[in-house]
Amino acid sequence: MKSKFVPLILIFIFSITFVIFFKGLKNSNIYTPNTNLKKEVPSFELKSFENNSIIISEKIFTDNKYYLMNIWASWCVPCKEEHKFLMKLKKDERIELIGFNYKDNFTNASSFLKDLGNPYNIIVSDKDGTASIEWGAYGVPESFLVYQNKIIKRFIGPINNEDLLEIQKIIDEIY
């Protein structure tokens, strides 16, 4: 009944399992989605933040320019951290910032911008967070770099100095 074949297979299977578990240990278990995407910008129709006029996505991302779509909220603490980097980015004329005001109320959000400055060219409000889902976003803060109606790169979590440099590098490559 017992051949030499079975033990060898057993040892083989367990060795493979060991190696896989060993490698699995080194992977982080926090999900990091692919950040380099080449997806079309999802179309949306949202109310403008300042007044209730409707803003259509097709009219925003069409110029031969870079756009940074940034999801933010006044109640989100890391948003305050990234804000100074957004302000720096604002000075760059080759890029426009589009703000997605996420599940926020107008008074808090306005005073947030008043205190820290307004880096956005256009702000739309995503009252219930559904438009962000269309973008495949996870929450606040999150940013998408858009060029020619395509999402080039996404940044999950607050933008930091490194991200800022990376964005500028990407822009430099084309110009």
């Binding site: 057993l10 367990f14 060991f18 896989i20 578990f21 060993f22 278990n29 109640w75 926020d104």
Partner: protein, 625 residues
């Protein structure tokens, strides 16, 4: 001070391992009887671990924040009960508890096994010592519970509030009794192979350990499930979460072993299979520890995510696995042809069928749990395996399993025919009609649900009849099987009859459905010792005119600063009414979840019945012999 003593005790304990191993090996060669010194040393080792464990408990009680573990997991405002349970509510402490139970069990083993051959006892002790040394080294090297911090902080970081719960306070110790019990089975199986003692006598002797571990494991899983039900606030009791699966896998293996041992006790067949199961049970318990502790899994209850610790357990686990494969190949002889004859319809067959299905269920859970890890490492694709997968693969197979479970125990050994054909037919017909009647009321998948409920009813009726026919013969087994039928029925009905609603409500608002009306009356605020509570008052009017007052709570804990939601559950014999309230960002309303869950209490009762069956069987042995 207590920490210091605890720390030294650990080192002494490890030192005694060396003494035990030395004298055991020496004793193997010389004398005919077991050296008394070995037993004494084992007790002393246990004693040191007890001291070390008490050292940690005392540090927790005194809130001695110079101890890193206490600092990370306790707080002065915490109630005494949770200070104590906080001892094993963390990685380091829980490992110390493992070690405590390991040394306790080997001491008990040495006392209880004095009728067994000397060589077998010594080898069991030796294998157990390998595990014990592994845990000692693991504790001292990577996760010492007695790390000293200076300067001493004034206040601790606190225990995660969702872990501050009576069910969860006793859940780990009970579960570990089950896990570690399987380590004794593992060591003794290896020892039995090395000393060629795999026999009916061995089966009789180890059955006690299998039963004990099985009862504890069952209760441990039950407690975890109860905790998830009322603490996590989702109204479910089983989520097919990896961490839950990890405790279910050894349970499957142990249940299989329990049935397999029944055969081995009577005649010497299935020896290789029993050995494989004994090894698998402990290997699965250990891999559970690995998967949970290493953070390789994405789960609700991931504890410490320290790759170094994960690596240690991984290497240790595979060392044990390879050691047992080696012993199995070189020492175990599979010669058992002599008594290998029985008719297709016999008790042996029914037990084989049990083993077959149990192994299938185990493989579903095992593959579902670790497949995503394999896929991610090999292809970098990440997938989720959740409840739909397990339902699809397990539910259809439950049908033949339940029917076999109803018929099997009535068959004779070696050769049998269907007894009581009359009752089998009658019960099948009644079960089918009853199920069809019930399921017809609901617009759910008729066919599969009817057949499932039919088979569960069939087992229910068959085992109920046994109580009258057999009276006290085989009572333990019958209670366990009856409990299992009750469990499956309760789970099925719980799924089918459940009614749930999620809605946003402001204070004063009313929500209406066809079956009930929820009225959000008001909220009150209360200050407790370590949290602030916001208590909602809800009045639920039912169709039949009765009404319930439900008071779900939001708790804002001070240390650490976490908001939790406490469900309010009104339980009666037929249904549970379950309500939670949640805070919503930037809104005046609260998110309300109201569920009517029928037969909830019967799920718990049936699992208690199942383990009570095992418990009875543990004592049966004594008065029979």
């Amino acid at each position: 001070m207590a920490s210091l003593i605890g720390s030294y005790s650990l080192s002494f304990g490890l030192f005694f391992s060396i003494l035990i191993i030395f004298f055991s090996v020496k004793n193997l060669k010389d004398a005919e009887i077991l050296d008394k010194k070995i037993i004494t040393f084992t007790f002393i080792q246990f004693f040191f671990v007890v001291i070390s464990f008490f050292g940690l408990i005392i540090s927790f009680i005194n809130s001695d924040f110079s101890n890193e573990t206490v600092f990370n997991h306790s707080h002065t405002t915490k109630p005494l009960f949770y200070k104590i349970s906080g001892t094993w509510g963390n990685h380091e402490g829980s490992l110390l508890l493992w070690l405590l139970v390991l040394t306790l069990f080997i001491s008990i083993f040495l006392i209880k096994s004095n009728q067994q051959p000397k060589k077998y006892r010594i080898f069991t002790l030796l294998f157990q010592q390998i595990i014990i040394v592994g845990f000692f080294v693991f504790l001292i090297k990577t996760s010492s519970p007695f790390n000293y911090i200076f300067p001493t902080p004034n206040e601790g970081l606190g225990l995660n509030p969702i872990l501050q719960d009576p069910a969860l306070a006793i859940h780990p110790p009970i579960l570990y009794l089950g896990y570690v019990g399987s380590s004794v089975i593992f060591s003794s199986a290896l020892a039995a192979m090395v000393t060629s003692y795999v026999s009916k006598e061995w089966a009789k002797h180890i059955k006690q350990w299998v039963l004990a571990s099985w009862v504890f494991l069952t209760l441990g899983i039950l407690l975890g499930s109860i905790w998830a039900y009322y603490e996590l606030g989702w109204g479910g009791f089983w989520f097919w979460d990896p961490v839950e699966n990890v405790s279910l896998m050894p349970w499957f293996a142990l249940t299989t072993l329990l049935h397999c041992i029944l055969v081995l006790e009577k005649k010497k067949i299935l020896t290789s299979w029993a050995m494989i199961l004994s090894i698998a049970t402990f290997a699965l318990s250990m891999s559970g520890t690995f998967l949970v502790r290493s953070g390789i899994l994405n789960s609700v209850h991931t504890f410490a995510n320290d790759p170094e610790r994960g690596l240690f357990i991984l290497i240790f686990l595979f060392t044990l696995i390879f050691l047992s494969i080696f012993i199995f190949i070189f020492f175990h002889s599979g010669k058992e042809k002599l008594e290998n004859n029985f008719f297709w319809l016999s008790k042996e067959t029914s037990i084989l069928v049990n083993n077959w299905f149990m192994m299938y269920f185990l493989s579903v859970v095992l593959i579902g749990t670790i497949y995503p890890i394999f896929l991610e490492v090999l292809t970098a694709n990440k997938i989720s395996v959740g409840p739909p997968f397990y339902n699809k693969l397990i539910l259809p197979f439950l049908i033949p399993f339940l029917i076999a479970m109803a018929i099997g125990p009535n068959l004779n050994w070696v050769k049998s025919d269907f007894k009581d054909k009359f009752y089998i037919t009658i019960f099948l017909i009644i079960s089918f009609l009853l199920s069809a009647l019930i399921i017809r009321q609901f617009d759910i998948n008729f066919l599969i649900n009817t057949i499932l409920v039919t088979s569960a009813f069939f087992l229910f009726f068959s085992t109920s009849r046994e109580f009258f026919v057999k009276k006290f013969r085989n009572l333990s087994q019958n209670i366990a099987h009856f409990g299992f039928s009750l469990l499956i029925l309760s789970i099925l009905f719980n799924n089918i009859f459940s009614n749930e609603v999620i809605t946003n409500l402001k204070i004063g608002e009313t929500f209406e459905t066809e079956k009930f009306t929820i009225n959000f009356e008001n909220v009150e605020q209360e200050d407790e010792k370590n949290f602030k509570a916001i208590i909602g008052k809800f009045n639920v009017q039912n169709l039949d005119g009765s009404s319930d007052i439900l008071n779900p709570e939001l708790r804002i804990y001070n240390q650490p600063n976490i908001i939790t939601s406490e469900a309010d559950i009104k339980t009666n014999l037929l249904t549970d009414k379950f309500m939670t309230m949640n805070y919503v960002q930037n809104q005046e309303y609260f998110n309300i979840r109201y569920q009517v869950k029928p037969f909830m209490i019967w799920i718990w009762v049936s699992v208690i019945l199942i383990s009570f069956g095992g418990f009875l069987s543990f004592f049966k042995k004594k008065y029979e012999v």
